[in-house]
Symmetry: C2
Subunit: 104 residues, 2 copies
């Protein structure tokens, strides 16, 4: 799976998306996230696993707890990809007409 697809897949799940929004304020532990989202701890761990595998999140174990924080790379790469579409919107001197001509 391409890394862009992995990133998209990780972000597309509502609760994981919510976790990312929570983490943008600052690092959080598993328990804190579980409380916020009203999810059970194991499920939160699963979601964090997916986010971690996709590189969107990083763990830092402190004693008992594991502190999760956002990681910039996947976000930046996804934004780069979206940026490659800009050219398309701009120099679209309507290609649809050309297409229709070819069809005859």
């Amino acid at each position: 799976m391409g890394e862009k697809l992995t990133t998209l897949h990780a972000l597309a799940e509502p609760n994981r998306f919510h976790i990312v929004e929570l983490l943008r304020v600052g690092p959080l532990t598993v328990g804190e996230i579980a409380d916020s989202l009203k999810l059970r701890q194991p499920q939160v761990s699963k979601h964090l696993r997916v986010l971690s595998d996709s590189g969107l999140v990083e763990v830092q174990p402190i004693a008992n707890r594991r502190i999760y924080k956002l990681q910039s790379q996947p976000f930046l790469e996804l934004e780069e990809w979206l940026d490659t579409f800009r050219n398309i919107w701009e120099d679209r001197f309507d290609r649809l007409d050309d297409y229709l001509k070819d069809m005859k």
Copy 2:
């Protein structure tokens, strides 16, 4: 569901992602996409439905055929959202230290 989530969900499926990559070259009919991806026509129609519902794609019916083309808005909105993270990477004068202090 938020529109960002809808967009992410639509893009996160590998074949739909592939369809978007095909359409960036130019508009295509259902049949052309099905041939390219080696998928059956009904499945391609389903995928296009999802893309259309999310606003990523627009239809233009010409006689028998339906021509699909990309639509810029959802891409731009998603990029805007990603852009709001830039601040975070920059002014992160490591908040992790603060967090650890609070925990004691």
